[in-house]
Symmetry: C2
Subunit: 215 residues, 2 copies
Amino acid sequence: MKYYSYFRSSAAYRVRIALNLKGVDYEQVPVNLAKAQQQAQAYLSRNPQGLVPALELADGTVLSQSIAILEWLEDTYPTPALYPADATKRALMRSFCLNIACDVHPLNNLSVLTYLRDVLGADPQQVAAWYSHWVYRVFDAAEQQVATGTGKFCFGEAPSMADCLLIPQMYNALRFEVDVTAYPTLSAIYTHCTALPAFEAADPARQADNPDQAS
Amino acid sequence: MKYYSYFRSSAAYRVRIALNLKGVDYEQVPVNLAKAQQQAQAYLSRNPQGLVPALELADGTVLSQSIAILEWLEDTYPTPALYPADATKRALMRSFCLNIACDVHPLNNLSVLTYLRDVLGADPQQVAAWYSHWVYRVFDAAEQQVATGTGKFCFGEAPSMADCLLIPQMYNALRFEVDVTAYPTLSAIYTHCTALPAFEAADPARQADNPDQAS
């Protein structure tokens, strides 16, 4: 399988974690968002939406949207399971994941921040306030959802889909210097998970297309 | 089951369609977003994220996030199936659904349009341009994905999860007077589906909490 990814994309980072947790072999193909390679014809012919990530299967089928890819991985490589077996618990975990995937990430990704700046004339302070606003809205609820846990993983005693979503979002929040002191449990989970091999290997800092890594 | 909904919320509309298609009994409880009832303590105690929709199960568990609720419905009431049985086809349909759920809807919902207006000072033309921009980005790809179909449903010969997502998004686009002439197949599917009983009963115009309906 070929995995079209950009080191810094948090949607791409989610799927790398899951691929590593499940021990799936894949070839990573970099798509440089800073050079708008996702809008080049070579990529659009594979993924007309022009977003990363995308997963190209052995038969040439291209899957896009990180959550659809994560669900496909769970369906196709069921061990280790990243969702609970119980339908209601699974729904509660999906809700946690989709809070991040729908209500933070789409509002804070590069194309939106660029639109705010270039089309609406937002200044750097306004862009930073926008960024934090949507993080806080979701992290306030997410912190409550995990506060009764162990502080190692979002739910239970093993990595799950929730951790695949949280870790990249927290990485992004820290990169944008969002104040996360109100989220001690989310922060503890971040510290714990990022030290584990599957997460460490997925870290943007470790990817071959990270210019710091390549230099 | 109690379904917390607002007639005009497109996320709530998605789930109403699926509940109707599967013939599931439920009691609809209105949450008036125009009066900010989703931020009132009575609702926040059920759904800390303060968004609609939410589904309260018989044991009191509350599920939030429309996609998580839709997946739970599919898991719990498998007939009629709204996803294909084949894992790859299911992933392609989820990708279509998530294009809408992640890359249009979150950018165009009420809280975001309010932020643009009240915090960033965007004028009505700028808000309308923002709205259309994200619709076009996703509908351009979605039209390609369904163009080879029959124009009755997004995929295949029966309603699916893809139609549960498309119809409310198209309803919203028309309500905001987005020019959809570039999307003939999506428009034909909208015309076809909205005339079917399960979709008709889910229509915002038919909901008891719609002021036009109540008067």
